[in-house]
Amino acid sequence: MIRVFTLALVLLAAVTAALPYVPSAAAAAKGKIVLAWHAGFASRWLDPQEHDGTATPDNFFWALHDGLVKNQGTKLFDHPALAEKFSIAADAKSATFTLRKGVKFHNGDPITAQDVKFSYESYRGAKADVFKNRTERVEIVDAGTIRFVFKEPFLDFGILFGTSNVAAPGWIVPEKYYKQVGPDAFKQKPIGAGPYKLVRQEPGVKVEMEAFDGYYRPVHTKELVMVAVPEAATRVAMLERGEADIIYNVPGELINKVKSMKGVTLAPVLSGSFFLEFVNFQDPKNPFRDTRVREAVSLAIDRRGMNQVESGGLGKVSGNWINDDVLYALDWPEFPRNVEKAKQLLREAGYPNGFDVDWVTPLPAFYSRGERVIAQLREVGIRGRLQTMERGIFFQKLRGGLKEFPGVQLILHGVRIAGSWSFWYEAYMKCGGSNSRDRICVKELDDKFDRYEKSVNPAERKKLAEEIQRAILENHYLVPVYRHAFVNAIGPKVAAQKWQDVFPTITTGYAYPWEDLKVRD
């Protein structure tokens, strides 16, 4: 079975193999695109060596840097970039990459296997411990070929290595320059191998870039400027005035305004999944211990209404709490809304008059979504109060585990994790998981998950993945609400038939690959 899987991977790599090298691509680049951001920039976002594993820094990596393979378009992780081909050994104990010929950094230095080795070995960002612990050595086979040898079969290597919004040990920095200037100075004047090179940055405010004429793919727009504009109404005004060409994050109350603007296209990119967690439902005293009560909660939730009001109807009401753009995500039909049946289930469970929930805590700052959940639960007799907190405190409490959420509590999570379904399970369902901690413990599922982690048989892994997800959904251990839309907008200057032309990469809410952006003639 391992052979079959390996053969499939090799074929996949071959089929998707490198696009031909196109030199001096920027010669044809023209125009300027200004992108107005919803947040201030952190300088560390310009250095893939310190990727924090969130979905924001990859915007900058994709402009200034490049990886061996990456998640591009509909490819989850294996789009060949600086590597023209790669293969994973039959026993999944090594992976070999061949560099594209003639690729260079912005300073003209060629990209070598030694740069790849350095980038991998000195990587200290998200999941660095996973790569370090599982890698035995990195071998330079020749100037253009490098092999990663693992201590044991490492089936998730490809997806971890190639998903830019999960980890970035495969994003290549120039060893010589990096060592020469040091990590902090590198963040101020990064040199990469991406389609754009840095012209100037004002830390936290603006990053100005211009097309790199040594990139191996055509770069269509000459200047790319990213500006941080925290206020949404200001971003919309910039778009209306033509001061910005793409704006991120249009909040619900401004969607109609943007819709009415001439020549402007809304880009409602499906993003994070919102779902409810029943804190400590295994406790015999907890009303949510009863499956009927959890199902009643699911039946009480007005998912379509939530999508309509919170995302202008641009989100998606799907059955699974795990996004469908990750490995082994299970397709599941939409859960129905049925208030009468919910009340009946509560009566059968011994709660004819409902019960009180101490706190309902939504992901900051999606407080209005928490209020809607409370209102919908009240219709079936479950009475809750909203608990709001600052974002950092929220995650701190999540990590604190059960002691931070005593009594009867619900948490409305909003999550987007790229890569694999298993990252979702590990973070939000597993006993002792990075965010679930000790609030949820379903031993039977955790045992299966352990089997999944240890298995080197892809078919078995897929079967286990689906069994676990099915059990979660059938038992209402977590209750999916909806997948919200990260609503962006595209101005008339950007050449696009449809918004997907500007936001083609399904594993992210952002507009990369940047080199494909075109200014209208």
């Binding site: 998200a126 411990d129 004002e202 830390p203 405010v205 200001t234 005004a237 701190q396």
Partner: protein, 306 residues
């Protein structure tokens, strides 16, 4: 005089030490910055590594002593978020903030002082009522609302001015009006009360008895004396505008110190928040010190008062 100056300097130093301790404690009460620097699923080992990297694994006392030792040499630490020395970030943004602060101060003076004088001279007339109404509006209209209205009118509808960012004089106009408007109200109220006090004084009555025209009495005698507290307030306001115009800078995406502070607070960037507050405190304390000494030089009674 020397003893007075020494005493004032000592008070200033004590104020800054208290300020540094307070801000050091307050930022740490907001939570653990490492949780915002690491990925959501970061391991405990990763979190510990980052904590150690930034010296956050040491006791608060040790961190504070280190911070103060560095501060005495002019080093306010390195920003977690930007990986640059805080002082460098501060002075990068200072020109923008000074530009905005000076424009806003000018606007507040141009609106507040004439309106305050008219209000005092025409006390209890409809002129006075209009001026009081303006002051009320200035104090009650939220800056963020005024800012957005200005953008909608002058950028989106009329297309006269750019919506946001820094650049030439056209960029600074709207944020300066939105910021200066609030301070104009306080200027107006202070000018009015100060003018009323001066206009009721004996020497003004004497000037009137001598038959001097109203214009001369107001312009030559009352105005100058009434403006002393107004300009003192303008100086303090300027420091506040330079360092803490948070909302206006966010609305107009103005790359100033207020926005730097805002980002630092949201990212729990301890060195950045501490540094900006200390530098702002230093400016305010410094200005007060200069004003105190200037008063003492002008009026000997002040330096004799303990």
């Amino acid at each position: 005089m020397a003893a007075f100056i020494a005493r004032r300097i000592l008070y200033s130093v004590v104020t800054l030490v208290i300020l540094s301790g307070t801000i050091f404690l307050i930022v740490r009460l907001t939570g653990d910055p490492v949780l915002l620097m690491a990925e959501a699923g970061a391991s405990t080992e990763d979190l510990a590594r980052i904590r150690q990297q930034w010296g956050l694994d040491r006791s608060w006392a040790v961190q504070y002593v280190t911070f103060m030792q560095n501060a005495l040499t002019g080093e306010l630490g390195k920003s977690f978020n930007y990986r640059l020395p805080v002082s460098e970030l501060y002075f990068q943004r200072l020109p923008n903030s000074l530009q905005l602060g000076l424009f806003a101060t000018l606007i507040s003076l141009l609106i507040g002082v004439p309106a305050g004088i008219v209000s005092a001279v025409k006390v209890n007339t409809w002129w006075d009522s209009i001026a009081k109404g303006v002051a009320l509006l200035g104090l009650s209209i939220p800056g963020f609302w005024l800012g957005l209205v200005l953008i909608l009118v002058f950028s989106v509808s009329l297309r006269w001015l750019p919506t946001s960012g820094a650049g030439d004089w056209r960029h600074v106009l709207m944020p300066a009006v939105a910021l200066g408007w609030y301070f104009a109200a306080s200027m107006l109220r202070l000018t009015r009360s100060s003018m009323l006090e001066v206009l009721g004084s004996e020497y003004i009555k004497l000037a009137r008895l001598k038959g001097l025209p109203d214009v001369v009495v107001i312009a030559m005698h009352a105005f100058k004396n009434a403006l002393i507290p107004v300009f003192t307030l303008a100086g303090v306001n300027l420091v506040v505008m330079v360092n803490a115009a948070v909302i206006i800078e966010v609305i107009f995406a103005w790359p100033g110190i207020g926005r730097l502070l805002y980002e630092g607070i949201f990212q729990r960037d301890f060195p950045l928040v501490q540094g900006v507050v200390i530098l702002a405190g230093f400016m305010i304390v410094g200005i007060n010190l200069v004003v105190d000494i200037a008063y003492a030089v002008i009026d000997p009674r002040i330096r004799l008062t303990r």
